[in-house]
Symmetry: C2
Subunit: 106 residues, 2 copies
Amino acid sequence: MDAKKRRRLESADFAVGSAAEFLGLSAEESALVEMRLALSRALRERRGEAGLTQAAFARRIGSSQSRVAKMEAGDPSVSLDLLIRALLAVGASRRDVGQALARRMA
Amino acid sequence: MDAKKRRRLESADFAVGSAAEFLGLSAEESALVEMRLALSRALRERRGEAGLTQAAFARRIGSSQSRVAKMEAGDPSVSLDLLIRALLAVGASRRDVGQALARRMA
DNA sequence: GCAAGATATGTCGAGTCCGACATAATGCAA
DNA sequence: TTGCATTATGTCGGACTCGACATATCTTGC
């Protein structure tokens, strides 16, 4: 997989416009990045609504505060797997995850 | 994460009824298994429609026939990450992935 | 029933991702 | 400001997933 080689990309802020084109990402690569960001946002929202701190949430899912911070930051060291597990842990359904994953930027 | 310890579960066939309850999986765990299976099915469908053998598809995405077989079998050694990348590689959109992931068994 | 193509299963070294820890930055009430 | 809670960033050892290879088990046409 070609994407593998270019893995450690900055997760980017999208401060103005799509950073994807700027960085020369393929359609597949940018779809992956967008998915990660979309799930990140969903996770932060849900954790907030649940009134949990990152540390409290980390304890609840058997992880650490730093990793939760990275999840929510869309850090490239965080897999979609982990994000999805975390979402399920805050009560998201399979359907919720599917929607979150497909949702476009605000 | 508690799921971690019980990781290497058989991916199960669901020959009759939900194997999830039988195996004593938590809601979260079975949601993950179901997602993996749902993506597996979507991948096999799309590859079929594209008229590709597992080997041909593997070459196309820079992987191996055996791993593609495992992807389609819902093997626990295959991450959701990989399945999603594979789906994108056969032309699925982010939306397609979201739908596939949420779709219930036939 | 055989052969050949396709798919499935088992294993392994290499590289990735995870939780943990340390520490820095940010926020926010007193 | 100062102090305390929360969130962000950097780094590691070890667990996990990857592609690859070997081999076994289907399929399908003959």
